[in-house]
Symmetry: C2
Amino acid sequence: MSDASRASVPDTRDRLLDAAEALFVEHGFEGTSTRMITGAARANLAAVNYHFGSKDALVQEVFRRRLAELNRQRLAALDRLEAEASGAPVRPSGILGAFFGTALQLAADTEHGGHTFMRLLGRTNTEPNAFIRQFLAEEYAGVLGRFLPALYRALPDVPREEILWRFHFMMGAMSYAIAGTDGLQLFAGRFDDADPARLIPRLMSFLLGGLRAPLAEFGGFRDERAGEGDEGGLAAA
Amino acid sequence: MSDASRASVPDTRDRLLDAAEALFVEHGFEGTSTRMITGAARANLAAVNYHFGSKDALVQEVFRRRLAELNRQRLAALDRLEAEASGAPVRPSGILGAFFGTALQLAADTEHGGHTFMRLLGRTNTEPNAFIRQFLAEEYAGVLGRFLPALYRALPDVPREEILWRFHFMMGAMSYAIAGTDGLQLFAGRFDDADPARLIPRLMSFLLGGLRAPLAEFGGFRDERAGEGDEGGLAAA
DNA sequence: GTCTATAGACGGATAGAC
DNA sequence: GTCTATCCGTCTATAGAC
Protein backbone atom coordinates (compact mmCIF):
# COMPACT_ATOMS: atom_id res chain seq x y z
CA MET A 1 0.00 0.00 0.00
CA SER A 2 2.29 2.69 1.22
CA ASP A 3 5.98 2.63 0.50
CA ALA A 4 7.20 5.92 1.91
CA SER A 5 8.96 7.60 -0.99
CA ARG A 6 6.69 6.90 -3.93
CA ALA A 7 6.83 10.38 -5.45
CA SER A 8 4.01 10.02 -7.95
CA VAL A 9 1.80 12.60 -9.64
CA PRO A 10 -0.87 14.28 -7.49
CA ASP A 11 -3.56 11.67 -7.73
CA THR A 12 -7.02 11.67 -6.24
CA ARG A 13 -5.84 10.47 -2.87
CA ASP A 14 -3.34 13.30 -2.49
CA ARG A 15 -5.78 15.89 -3.75
CA LEU A 16 -8.23 14.74 -1.11
CA LEU A 17 -5.62 15.10 1.64
CA ASP A 18 -4.61 18.58 0.46
CA ALA A 19 -8.20 19.74 0.16
CA ALA A 20 -9.10 18.35 3.56
CA GLU A 21 -6.11 20.03 5.19
CA ALA A 22 -7.09 23.41 3.83
CA LEU A 23 -10.77 23.03 4.70
CA PHE A 24 -10.13 21.71 8.20
CA VAL A 25 -8.08 24.73 9.18
CA GLU A 26 -10.79 27.01 7.87
CA HIS A 27 -13.89 25.27 9.22
CA GLY A 28 -12.74 22.65 11.71
CA PHE A 29 -13.36 18.94 11.45
CA GLU A 30 -17.03 18.99 12.30
CA GLY A 31 -17.57 22.02 10.12
CA THR A 32 -16.07 20.34 7.07
CA SER A 33 -18.19 17.80 5.22
CA THR A 34 -16.97 15.12 2.89
CA ARG A 35 -18.97 16.91 0.21
CA MET A 36 -16.86 20.03 0.70
CA ILE A 37 -13.68 17.97 0.54
CA THR A 38 -14.53 15.99 -2.56
CA GLY A 39 -15.87 19.13 -4.19
CA ALA A 40 -12.64 21.06 -3.62
CA ALA A 41 -10.54 18.10 -4.71
CA ARG A 42 -12.65 17.66 -7.86
CA ALA A 43 -13.28 14.08 -6.83
CA ASN A 44 -16.40 12.04 -6.48
CA LEU A 45 -18.43 12.02 -3.29
CA ALA A 46 -17.63 8.38 -2.71
CA ALA A 47 -13.88 8.92 -3.06
CA VAL A 48 -13.26 9.63 0.63
CA ASN A 49 -14.74 6.35 1.66
CA TYR A 50 -13.04 4.46 -1.11
CA HIS A 51 -9.54 5.79 -0.35
CA PHE A 52 -9.65 6.09 3.42
CA GLY A 53 -12.62 4.11 4.63
CA SER A 54 -14.14 6.93 6.66
CA LYS A 55 -13.89 10.62 7.33
CA ASP A 56 -12.10 10.00 10.63
CA ALA A 57 -9.45 7.90 8.91
CA LEU A 58 -8.90 10.74 6.44
CA VAL A 59 -8.43 13.19 9.31
CA GLN A 60 -5.84 10.94 10.85
CA GLU A 61 -3.93 10.56 7.58
CA VAL A 62 -3.85 14.34 7.12
CA PHE A 63 -1.85 14.57 10.34
CA ARG A 64 0.20 11.44 9.98
CA ARG A 65 1.85 12.30 6.67
CA ARG A 66 3.01 15.72 7.89
CA LEU A 67 3.84 14.97 11.50
CA ALA A 68 6.02 12.01 10.66
CA GLU A 69 8.24 14.20 8.50
CA LEU A 70 8.25 17.19 10.89
CA ASN A 71 9.23 15.11 13.89
CA ARG A 72 11.85 13.28 11.89
CA GLN A 73 13.45 16.65 11.06
CA ARG A 74 13.21 17.78 14.66
CA LEU A 75 15.00 14.70 15.91
CA ALA A 76 17.62 14.97 13.17
CA ALA A 77 18.33 18.57 14.22
CA LEU A 78 18.67 17.54 17.85
CA ASP A 79 20.94 14.64 16.88
CA ARG A 80 23.21 17.07 15.07
CA LEU A 81 23.40 19.41 18.06
CA GLU A 82 24.13 16.64 20.48
CA ALA A 83 26.84 15.28 18.23
CA GLU A 84 28.46 18.72 18.03
CA ALA A 85 28.26 19.12 21.80
CA SER A 86 29.92 15.73 22.26
CA GLY A 87 28.63 14.96 25.72
CA ALA A 88 28.12 18.49 27.01
CA PRO A 89 24.56 19.80 27.40
CA VAL A 90 23.16 21.43 24.28
CA ARG A 91 22.46 25.15 24.65
CA PRO A 92 18.80 26.08 25.22
CA SER A 93 18.73 28.24 22.10
CA GLY A 94 19.82 25.26 20.05
CA ILE A 95 17.14 23.01 21.51
CA LEU A 96 14.43 25.56 20.88
CA GLY A 97 15.70 26.08 17.36
CA ALA A 98 15.54 22.36 16.68
CA PHE A 99 11.99 22.06 17.95
CA PHE A 100 10.27 25.36 17.23
CA GLY A 101 12.52 26.62 14.48
CA THR A 102 12.00 23.47 12.47
CA ALA A 103 8.25 23.85 12.88
CA LEU A 104 8.36 27.50 11.85
CA GLN A 105 10.32 26.63 8.77
CA LEU A 106 7.62 24.20 7.81
CA ALA A 107 5.08 26.93 8.53
CA ALA A 108 6.97 29.28 6.23
CA ASP A 109 6.47 26.93 3.29
CA THR A 110 3.34 28.24 1.67
CA GLU A 111 3.84 26.40 -1.60
CA HIS A 112 3.55 22.79 -0.47
CA GLY A 113 0.93 23.24 2.21
CA GLY A 114 3.29 23.33 5.17
CA HIS A 115 1.88 26.65 6.28
CA THR A 116 -1.67 25.38 6.08
CA PHE A 117 -0.78 22.29 8.04
CA MET A 118 0.98 24.15 10.84
CA ARG A 119 -2.05 26.40 11.27
CA LEU A 120 -4.19 23.30 11.45
CA LEU A 121 -1.88 21.70 13.99
CA GLY A 122 -1.96 24.75 16.23
CA ARG A 123 -5.69 24.84 16.06
CA THR A 124 -6.04 21.15 16.76
CA ASN A 125 -3.98 21.36 19.95
CA THR A 126 -6.93 23.15 21.52
CA GLU A 127 -9.57 21.00 19.85
CA PRO A 128 -10.02 18.06 22.12
CA ASN A 129 -11.56 15.55 19.72
CA ALA A 130 -11.13 12.34 21.63
CA PHE A 131 -9.54 10.28 18.92
CA ILE A 132 -7.33 13.04 17.53
CA ARG A 133 -5.98 13.88 20.97
CA GLN A 134 -4.98 10.27 21.47
CA PHE A 135 -3.38 10.18 18.06
CA LEU A 136 -1.38 13.37 18.58
CA ALA A 137 -0.17 12.22 21.98
CA GLU A 138 1.26 9.08 20.38
CA GLU A 139 2.88 11.00 17.54
CA TYR A 140 4.53 13.41 19.98
CA ALA A 141 5.68 10.89 22.55
CA GLY A 142 8.95 10.27 20.74
CA VAL A 143 10.04 13.89 20.29
CA LEU A 144 9.01 14.90 23.79
CA GLY A 145 10.97 11.99 25.16
CA ARG A 146 14.08 13.43 23.54
CA PHE A 147 13.57 17.19 23.83
CA LEU A 148 12.45 17.35 27.43
CA PRO A 149 15.51 15.50 28.78
CA ALA A 150 17.70 17.72 26.60
CA LEU A 151 16.17 20.76 28.28
CA TYR A 152 16.52 19.22 31.71
CA ARG A 153 20.24 18.83 31.06
CA ALA A 154 20.58 22.30 29.58
CA LEU A 155 18.87 23.93 32.56
CA PRO A 156 19.87 21.85 35.55
CA ASP A 157 18.91 24.55 38.06
CA VAL A 158 15.34 24.90 36.84
CA PRO A 159 12.83 22.44 38.34
CA ARG A 160 11.64 19.96 35.73
CA GLU A 161 8.06 20.80 36.49
CA GLU A 162 8.78 24.38 35.54
CA ILE A 163 10.46 23.38 32.29
CA LEU A 164 7.45 21.26 31.42
CA TRP A 165 5.10 24.18 31.92
CA ARG A 166 7.30 26.55 30.01
CA PHE A 167 7.52 24.13 27.13
CA HIS A 168 3.76 24.08 27.14
CA PHE A 169 3.58 27.89 27.17
CA MET A 170 6.02 27.99 24.28
CA MET A 171 3.85 25.71 22.20
CA GLY A 172 0.98 28.12 22.75
CA ALA A 173 3.08 31.08 21.69
CA MET A 174 4.20 29.25 18.57
CA SER A 175 0.67 28.26 17.71
CA TYR A 176 -0.51 31.86 17.85
CA ALA A 177 2.60 33.06 16.07
CA ILE A 178 1.74 30.93 13.07
CA ALA A 179 -1.93 31.82 13.13
CA GLY A 180 -1.04 35.52 13.43
CA THR A 181 0.72 35.61 10.10
CA ASP A 182 -2.65 35.36 8.44
CA GLY A 183 -5.66 37.57 8.91
CA LEU A 184 -6.89 35.27 11.59
CA GLN A 185 -6.45 36.81 14.97
CA LEU A 186 -7.60 39.68 17.09
CA PHE A 187 -4.65 41.66 15.89
CA ALA A 188 -5.56 41.36 12.26
CA GLY A 189 -5.02 44.72 10.68
CA ARG A 190 -2.72 45.88 13.45
CA PHE A 191 0.40 44.19 12.15
CA ASP A 192 2.26 46.46 9.80
CA ASP A 193 5.00 43.95 9.36
CA ALA A 194 3.77 40.40 9.02
CA ASP A 195 6.81 39.24 7.04
CA PRO A 196 7.05 35.52 7.75
CA ALA A 197 10.83 35.65 7.37
CA ARG A 198 11.04 37.86 10.45
CA LEU A 199 8.73 35.67 12.46
CA ILE A 200 11.36 33.10 13.37
CA PRO A 201 13.77 35.48 15.12
CA ARG A 202 10.84 37.33 16.68
CA LEU A 203 9.39 34.23 18.24
CA MET A 204 12.74 32.73 19.12
CA SER A 205 13.89 35.64 21.23
CA PHE A 206 10.51 35.71 22.97
CA LEU A 207 10.66 31.98 23.72
CA LEU A 208 14.22 32.14 24.99
CA GLY A 209 13.37 35.06 27.22
CA GLY A 210 10.45 33.19 28.67
CA LEU A 211 12.32 29.93 29.09
CA ARG A 212 15.17 31.62 30.95
CA ALA A 213 13.04 34.00 33.00
CA PRO A 214 13.74 34.08 36.73
CA LEU A 215 11.52 31.78 38.72
CA ALA A 216 8.65 33.20 40.71
CA GLU A 217 8.78 31.72 44.20
CA PHE A 218 6.51 34.24 45.83
CA GLY A 219 2.77 34.57 45.59
CA GLY A 220 2.85 35.99 42.13
CA PHE A 221 1.68 39.31 40.84
CA ARG A 222 -1.36 39.48 42.99
CA ASP A 223 0.12 42.20 45.17
CA GLU A 224 -0.04 44.59 42.27
CA ARG A 225 -3.79 44.30 42.21
CA ALA A 226 -4.44 43.94 45.91
CA GLY A 227 -6.19 46.34 48.22
CA GLU A 228 -9.73 45.64 47.07
CA GLY A 229 -12.41 43.61 48.70
CA ASP A 230 -14.93 41.68 46.66
CA GLU A 231 -14.72 43.82 43.58
CA GLY A 232 -14.56 40.76 41.37
CA GLY A 233 -18.21 39.78 41.70
CA LEU A 234 -20.48 39.40 38.75
CA ALA A 235 -22.97 42.16 39.39
CA ALA A 236 -22.01 45.81 39.27
CA ALA A 237 -22.12 47.12 42.83
CA MET B 1 -35.51 42.95 28.05
CA SER B 2 -32.12 43.02 29.62
CA ASP B 3 -31.36 45.26 32.55
CA ALA B 4 -27.82 44.34 33.50
CA SER B 5 -28.00 43.49 37.18
CA ARG B 6 -31.14 41.42 37.47
CA ALA B 7 -29.73 38.71 39.72
CA SER B 8 -32.57 36.22 39.45
CA VAL B 9 -32.70 32.47 39.96
CA PRO B 10 -31.05 30.27 37.33
CA ASP B 11 -33.86 30.18 34.80
CA THR B 12 -34.01 28.36 31.51
CA ARG B 13 -32.15 31.05 29.66
CA ASP B 14 -29.16 30.89 32.00
CA ARG B 15 -29.17 27.12 32.06
CA LEU B 16 -28.98 27.16 28.27
CA LEU B 17 -26.01 29.52 28.33
CA ASP B 18 -24.18 27.44 30.94
CA ALA B 19 -24.84 24.18 29.13
CA ALA B 20 -23.79 25.65 25.78
CA GLU B 21 -20.56 27.02 27.27
CA ALA B 22 -19.58 23.63 28.63
CA LEU B 23 -20.51 21.75 25.47
CA PHE B 24 -18.81 24.22 23.13
CA VAL B 25 -15.46 23.85 24.85
CA GLU B 26 -15.78 20.09 24.68
CA HIS B 27 -17.07 19.65 21.13
CA GLY B 28 -16.72 23.00 19.38
CA PHE B 29 -19.56 25.02 17.89
CA GLU B 30 -20.19 22.83 14.90
CA GLY B 31 -19.85 19.71 16.99
CA THR B 32 -22.50 20.83 19.45
CA SER B 33 -26.13 20.52 18.40
CA THR B 34 -29.03 22.43 19.85
CA ARG B 35 -30.39 19.07 20.89
CA MET B 36 -27.30 18.44 23.00
CA ILE B 37 -27.64 21.89 24.57
CA THR B 38 -31.33 21.68 25.43
CA GLY B 39 -30.82 18.15 26.65
CA ALA B 40 -28.05 19.13 29.06
CA ALA B 41 -30.00 22.18 30.23
CA ARG B 42 -33.13 20.08 30.78
CA ALA B 43 -35.00 22.44 28.50
CA ASN B 44 -37.20 21.89 25.50
CA LEU B 45 -35.78 21.59 22.01
CA ALA B 46 -37.52 24.81 20.98
CA ALA B 47 -36.07 26.78 23.89
CA VAL B 48 -32.91 27.89 22.08
CA ASN B 49 -34.89 29.48 19.31
CA TYR B 50 -37.38 31.00 21.68
CA HIS B 51 -34.80 32.64 23.95
CA PHE B 52 -32.11 33.56 21.46
CA GLY B 53 -33.62 33.36 18.00
CA SER B 54 -30.93 31.07 16.58
CA LYS B 55 -27.99 28.94 17.51
CA ASP B 56 -25.58 31.62 16.31
CA ALA B 57 -27.18 34.22 18.53
CA LEU B 58 -26.80 31.87 21.48
CA VAL B 59 -23.11 31.45 20.71
CA GLN B 60 -22.66 35.19 20.66
CA GLU B 61 -24.44 35.65 23.98
CA VAL B 62 -22.24 32.99 25.61
CA PHE B 63 -19.26 35.20 24.88
CA ARG B 64 -20.87 38.56 25.46
CA ARG B 65 -21.95 38.00 29.04
CA ARG B 66 -18.49 36.84 30.15
CA LEU B 67 -16.29 39.09 28.03
CA ALA B 68 -18.08 42.25 29.07
CA GLU B 69 -17.30 41.54 32.72
CA LEU B 70 -13.74 40.32 32.12
CA ASN B 71 -12.79 43.34 30.07
CA ARG B 72 -14.44 45.67 32.57
CA GLN B 73 -12.22 44.19 35.28
CA ARG B 74 -9.15 44.46 33.09
CA LEU B 75 -9.76 48.12 32.42
CA ALA B 76 -10.50 48.80 36.09
CA ALA B 77 -7.19 47.21 37.05
CA LEU B 78 -5.33 49.31 34.50
CA ASP B 79 -7.13 52.44 35.69
CA ARG B 80 -5.94 51.75 39.22
CA LEU B 81 -2.34 51.25 38.13
CA GLU B 82 -2.31 54.41 36.06
CA ALA B 83 -3.80 56.39 38.92
CA GLU B 84 -1.09 55.08 41.27
CA ALA B 85 1.62 55.93 38.75
CA SER B 86 0.23 59.46 38.43
CA GLY B 87 1.58 60.24 35.00
CA ALA B 88 4.61 57.97 34.96
CA PRO B 89 4.53 54.86 32.76
CA VAL B 90 3.08 51.81 34.47
CA ARG B 91 5.55 48.96 34.98
CA PRO B 92 5.28 46.10 32.47
CA SER B 93 4.63 43.58 35.23
CA GLY B 94 1.65 45.62 36.34
CA ILE B 95 0.22 45.82 32.83
CA LEU B 96 0.58 42.10 32.29
CA GLY B 97 -1.00 41.44 35.67
CA ALA B 98 -3.97 43.60 34.80
CA PHE B 99 -4.53 41.86 31.49
CA PHE B 100 -3.40 38.27 31.91
CA GLY B 101 -3.64 37.99 35.68
CA THR B 102 -7.25 39.11 35.62
CA ALA B 103 -8.00 36.51 32.98
CA LEU B 104 -6.23 33.78 34.95
CA GLN B 105 -8.20 34.65 38.04
CA LEU B 106 -11.38 34.17 36.05
CA ALA B 107 -9.94 30.89 34.79
CA ALA B 108 -9.27 29.81 38.37
CA ASP B 109 -12.95 30.09 39.21
CA THR B 110 -14.23 26.60 38.64
CA GLU B 111 -17.46 27.09 40.56
CA HIS B 112 -19.20 29.69 38.43
CA GLY B 113 -18.01 28.53 35.04
CA GLY B 114 -15.18 31.01 34.66
CA HIS B 115 -12.72 28.22 34.07
CA THR B 116 -14.90 26.65 31.42
CA PHE B 117 -15.34 29.96 29.68
CA MET B 118 -11.64 30.79 29.60
CA ARG B 119 -10.90 27.42 28.05
CA LEU B 120 -13.56 28.15 25.47
CA LEU B 121 -12.13 31.58 24.78
CA GLY B 122 -8.65 30.21 24.27
CA ARG B 123 -9.97 27.63 21.91
CA THR B 124 -12.05 30.11 19.97
CA ASN B 125 -9.09 32.37 19.29
CA THR B 126 -7.86 29.74 16.87
CA GLU B 127 -11.30 28.89 15.51
CA PRO B 128 -11.88 31.33 12.74
CA ASN B 129 -15.66 31.22 12.49
CA ALA B 130 -16.34 34.29 10.44
CA PHE B 131 -18.98 35.86 12.62
CA ILE B 132 -17.32 34.99 15.94
CA ARG B 133 -14.02 36.44 14.83
CA GLN B 134 -15.74 39.68 13.95
CA PHE B 135 -17.54 39.72 17.26
CA LEU B 136 -14.39 39.06 19.32
CA ALA B 137 -12.49 41.76 17.47
CA GLU B 138 -15.15 44.27 18.45
CA GLU B 139 -15.23 43.12 22.06
CA TYR B 140 -11.45 43.40 22.32
CA ALA B 141 -11.01 46.70 20.53
CA GLY B 142 -11.54 48.68 23.73
CA VAL B 143 -9.06 46.84 25.94
CA LEU B 144 -6.41 46.63 23.24
CA GLY B 145 -6.78 50.33 22.67
CA ARG B 146 -5.82 50.91 26.29
CA PHE B 147 -3.31 48.12 26.99
CA LEU B 148 -1.19 48.45 23.88
CA PRO B 149 -0.48 52.17 24.42
CA ALA B 150 0.29 51.43 28.05
CA LEU B 151 2.91 48.91 26.93
CA TYR B 152 4.29 51.32 24.35
CA ARG B 153 4.86 53.85 27.13
CA ALA B 154 6.30 51.24 29.50
CA LEU B 155 8.78 49.99 26.91
CA PRO B 156 9.72 53.05 24.87
CA ASP B 157 12.86 51.42 23.45
CA VAL B 158 11.07 48.42 21.99
CA PRO B 159 9.57 48.86 18.53
CA ARG B 160 5.79 48.90 18.65
CA GLU B 161 5.61 46.20 16.03
CA GLU B 162 7.60 43.96 18.34
CA ILE B 163 5.36 44.69 21.30
CA LEU B 164 2.33 43.81 19.19
CA TRP B 165 3.81 40.46 18.24
CA ARG B 166 4.87 39.71 21.76
CA PHE B 167 1.42 40.51 23.05
CA HIS B 168 0.13 38.06 20.53
CA PHE B 169 2.60 35.40 21.64
CA MET B 170 1.57 36.01 25.25
CA MET B 171 -2.05 35.40 24.42
CA GLY B 172 -1.06 32.06 22.95
CA ALA B 173 0.91 31.11 26.04
CA MET B 174 -2.01 32.07 28.27
CA SER B 175 -4.43 30.09 26.17
CA TYR B 176 -2.35 26.94 26.47
CA ALA B 177 -1.69 27.62 30.14
CA ILE B 178 -5.39 27.49 30.87
CA ALA B 179 -6.00 24.47 28.67
CA GLY B 180 -3.06 22.69 30.29
CA THR B 181 -4.63 22.70 33.74
CA ASP B 182 -7.04 20.07 32.49
CA GLY B 183 -6.28 16.76 30.92
CA LEU B 184 -6.41 18.35 27.53
CA GLN B 185 -3.00 18.71 26.07
CA LEU B 186 -0.09 16.70 24.83
CA PHE B 187 1.45 16.94 28.25
CA ALA B 188 -1.49 15.33 29.98
CA GLY B 189 -0.11 12.93 32.52
CA ARG B 190 3.28 14.61 32.57
CA PHE B 191 2.35 17.40 34.95
CA ASP B 192 2.93 16.33 38.53
CA ASP B 193 1.89 19.70 39.81
CA ALA B 194 -1.13 21.17 38.07
CA ASP B 195 -2.15 23.30 41.04
CA PRO B 196 -4.07 26.20 39.49
CA ALA B 197 -2.93 28.51 42.28
CA ARG B 198 0.66 28.17 41.10
CA LEU B 199 -0.25 28.75 37.48
CA ILE B 200 -0.47 32.53 37.78
CA PRO B 201 3.11 33.11 38.99
CA ARG B 202 4.36 30.42 36.62
CA LEU B 203 2.85 32.06 33.58
CA MET B 204 3.58 35.60 34.73
CA SER B 205 7.30 35.10 35.02
CA PHE B 206 7.36 33.39 31.65
CA LEU B 207 5.45 36.22 30.02
CA LEU B 208 7.60 38.91 31.57
CA GLY B 209 10.74 37.10 30.48
CA GLY B 210 9.45 36.91 26.95
CA LEU B 211 8.22 40.48 26.85
CA ARG B 212 11.56 41.85 28.04
CA ALA B 213 13.77 39.52 26.02
CA PRO B 214 16.55 41.15 24.03
CA LEU B 215 15.60 41.88 20.46
CA ALA B 216 16.88 39.71 17.66
CA GLU B 217 18.19 41.94 14.91
CA PHE B 218 20.18 39.35 13.08
CA GLY B 219 18.99 36.52 10.93
CA GLY B 220 17.69 34.54 13.82
CA PHE B 221 18.70 31.16 15.08
CA ARG B 222 19.23 29.68 11.68
CA ASP B 223 23.00 29.65 12.10
CA GLU B 224 22.65 26.98 14.72
CA ARG B 225 21.14 24.64 12.16
CA ALA B 226 23.11 25.75 9.11
CA GLY B 227 25.67 23.81 7.14
CA GLU B 228 23.23 21.56 5.31
CA GLY B 229 22.03 21.73 1.80
CA ASP B 230 18.51 20.71 0.91
CA GLU B 231 17.95 18.37 3.80
CA GLY B 232 14.55 19.89 4.44
CA GLY B 233 12.88 18.35 1.43
CA LEU B 234 9.95 16.03 1.72
CA ALA B 235 11.52 12.80 0.58
CA ALA B 236 14.28 11.09 2.50
CA ALA B 237 17.47 11.43 0.49
C1' DG C 1 -11.22 3.50 -9.61
C1' DT C 2 -14.99 6.34 -10.57
C1' DC C 3 -19.64 7.24 -10.85
C1' DT C 4 -25.03 7.69 -9.54
C1' DA C 5 -28.44 6.96 -6.44
C1' DT C 6 -30.03 6.41 -2.11
C1' DA C 7 -30.40 4.85 2.58
C1' DG C 8 -30.85 6.31 7.26
C1' DA C 9 -29.61 9.44 10.88
C1' DC C 10 -29.26 14.04 12.43
C1' DG C 11 -29.01 19.11 11.77
C1' DG C 12 -31.55 23.91 12.70
C1' DA C 13 -35.72 25.98 12.67
C1' DT C 14 -40.81 26.65 13.04
C1' DA C 15 -46.04 26.14 13.61
C1' DG C 16 -49.36 25.95 16.64
C1' DA C 17 -51.57 23.72 20.85
C1' DC C 18 -51.49 24.43 25.74
C1' DG D 1 -42.85 30.05 28.34
C1' DT D 2 -43.10 25.41 27.32
C1' DC D 3 -44.38 21.64 24.73
C1' DT D 4 -45.09 18.20 20.49
C1' DA D 5 -44.81 17.37 15.90
C1' DT D 6 -42.81 18.18 11.81
C1' DC D 7 -40.53 20.45 7.67
C1' DC D 8 -36.69 20.28 5.02
C1' DG D 9 -31.91 20.34 4.33
C1' DT D 10 -27.37 18.08 5.05
C1' DC D 11 -24.68 14.57 6.94
C1' DT D 12 -21.80 10.02 6.45
C1' DA D 13 -21.73 5.88 4.39
C1' DT D 14 -22.88 2.29 1.08
C1' DA D 15 -24.77 -0.44 -2.84
C1' DG D 16 -24.16 -1.46 -7.28
C1' DA D 17 -23.63 0.02 -12.36
C1' DC D 18 -19.87 1.14 -15.41
